[in-house]
């Protein structure tokens, strides 16, 4: 039952309108038949969606972002899952320091991370390479996976592990047949959140790309700061649709609030 009074309901509606306003405006502008940013659009046209096809820059950037997101989220998962198991299950000296280190990319201002990566990569000739981007993104997104997997690990019933161990199962079998299936929702939720974070990342990436590896957010950012035409609105609208599809899928599977608060099942 809705327990909110009338004032709360009005506040709720205004709040939702505020949250949706800029996104709705971008989607609306993308449908304009005119050559300038116009809202509400005077007509409905797919002119600026067609224009994307004539701009291979954006399509190539989208591919790079997609590949980067998938590879970086996978690399980060492979690194973060065993680390989360170690931190979540073991009691050992340095455990808290280790966890703090793996969560630290959330604490350091992103612009500082960006220049640190730029300085390091340029000394080793890796600046602007896809490998460099993958490694830097893996660092930025590891905290998201770690938090969700940790939440899943903490809720695990260890007696099942011990039962399997006493029956002679190897560590790898225990991981594959018992641990992994029970933390899988956390791992998948973390992977998706990491993928989206990588796909949208701008502040760090803007320092470490070159023209050949420009990602979609960087491409959009430089387009916005140079010109204002509805082309970037139609590109934005497509990424919004893509994100909404992912978001609804994750919400069904895992719960958006749990994903973003990073807490285990209640």
């Amino acid at each position: 039952m809705n327990q909110n009074g009338r004032f709360s309901q009005v506040f709720n509606i205004l709040f939702c309108a505020f949250m949706l306003a800029p996104i709705v405006v971008v989607m609306g502008v993308s449908l304009t038949p005119e050559g300038f940013l116009e809202f509400p659009p005077s007509g409905i046209s797919l002119r600026w969606y067609q224009a994307i096809l004539d701009n291979p820059d954006f399509i190539e950037a989208a591919w790079i972002s997609l590949k980067l997101g998938i590879v970086a989220a996978t690399v980060a998962s492979v690194l973060a899952v065993p680390a989360a198991l170690a931190i979540g299950q073991g009691k050992f000296k340095g455990r808290e320091a280790l966890q703090a280190l793996f969560l630290s990319p959330l604490m350091v201002p992103t612009v500082v991370l960006g220049i640190a990566f730029l300085r390091f990569l340029s000394l080793f000739g890796l600046n602007g390479t896809f490998t460099g981007l993958v490694l830097c993104h893996a660092i930025i997104i590891t905290p998201f996976i770690l938090r969700l997997v940790l939440a899943a690990v903490v809720g695990l019933d260890r007696t099942v592990d011990r039962a399997a161990e006493s029956l002679g199962a190897s560590n790898w079998t225990i991981f594959r047949r018992i641990t992994l299936p029970s933390i899988l929702p956390g791992v998948i939720g973390g992977w998706v959140l990491a993928f989206i974070t990588s796909f949208d990342e701008l502040t760090v990436t803007v320092f470490i790309v070159n023209p050949a590896t420009t990602t979609l957010p960087v491409r959009m950012f430089s387009h916005i700061t140079q010109t204002t035409d509805p082309l970037v609105a139609s590109v934005s609208a497509l990424t919004v649709i893509f994100t909404i599809i992912l978001m609804v899928a994750v919400d069904r599977m895992y719960g958006l609030d749990r994903l973003l608060i990073g807490e285990g099942k209640k």
């Binding site: 800029p22 405006v25 690194l79 680390a83 350091v108 320092f207 957010p217």
Partner: protein, 282 residues
């Protein structure tokens, strides 16, 4: 000593050591180097970059503006986010899942896209100004692009979900029986919110504020698009030093000062919260 946890963490530890700790240290050392227009980065050690930043009122203005914007953003996020989290908490489950998507979903949409939306809304010929002019409420457009106010508005939108999430998490930890007791004793809804709910969620508000403040102080995309060269903040200044002026040592010094001030504020804030609300957080 138990070695297994370290073996399992070794791959991640290696990546973080080589690609996070080493670069951060290198940036720290870089901030002591000097830069010549013809010679590039020179491998000297001096405090001249820090002296330049500290002695120049131009940089003071940028740091002052950045922290003022971050503070205002935090204030508005708390002002709007706390009641909204409470409303969310009291919604029926079916409505709640829809409103959660609307309120928290934008977090997953690129900041560039959201800021583009605000640029379209706030421009001199933008949606808000045209609407106000059409209704005859104003004669000349209100300047909102390239102002600190416009940046605060857009950043509030960008970071509100974090505040709602933090307060909502605190709401779920509170004792619902106290509210019911107050209601049965005839307290009005607003009184219940102010006297019963609010004190219980203060730790959530404080941790949400900390997240919002630190992210707002180092935000880049929104001030870069809405403020441009005219309303510079620390992050956009660092960007210009690195990618336009190419004075990396000076840029590194500015970034280190940002890192240090954000860290100091966060630690001070944390200690304050722990001293006052230590029990509530456990």
């Amino acid at each position: 000593m138990n070695e297994k946890p370290w073996m399992m963490s070794a791959p991640a530890l290696t990546l973080f050591g080589v690609l996070l700790l080493v670069p951060l240290c290198m940036t720290f050392f870089l901030s002591f180097n000097s830069f010549g227009f013809y010679t590039g980065i020179e491998n000297t050690v001096s405090m001249e970059n820090y002296a330049e930043v500290v002695s120049d009122s131009y940089f003071w203005e940028i740091f002052g503006r950045t922290f003022a914007i971050a503070l205002a953003t935090t204030f508005f996020c708390a002002l709007l986010g706390v009641p909204q989290a409470y409303i969310l908490y009291r919604l029926s489950p079916a409505w709640r899942s829809i409103v959660v998507l609307i309120v928290i979903g934008p977090l997953l949409i690129s900041v560039v896209v959201r800021t583009l939306g605000w640029a379209i809304l706030l421009g001199n010929n933008g949606v808000i100004n045209s609407a106000l002019q059409n209704w005859g409420l104003i004669e000349r457009p209100i300047k909102m692009m390239y102002t600190s106010g416009g940046i605060v508005l857009a950043l509030t939108h960008v970071f509100l979900p974090f505040m709602v999430l933090a307060v909502w998490a605190a709401l779920q930890r509170k004792d619902p029986a106290v509210e019911a007791a107050a209601e049965s004793l005839g307290a009005r809804p607003f009184t219940i919110f102010r006297r019963i709910v609010l004190p219980q969620v203060i730790p959530g508000i404080l941790s949400g504020s900390l997240i919002v403040f630190s992210m707002a102080a180092s935000s880049f995309a929104t001030p870069a698009i809405l403020g441009g060269r005219r309303v510079k903040v620390v992050a956009t200044t660092v960007y210009d030093e690195f990618l336009n002026t190419l004075n990396w040592p000076l840029g590194a010094a500015i970034a280190m000062l940002l890192l240090a001030s954000v860290m100091v504020i966060m630690l001070a804030w944390n200690r304050l919260v722990e001293r006052r609300y230590g029990e509530a957080l456990e």
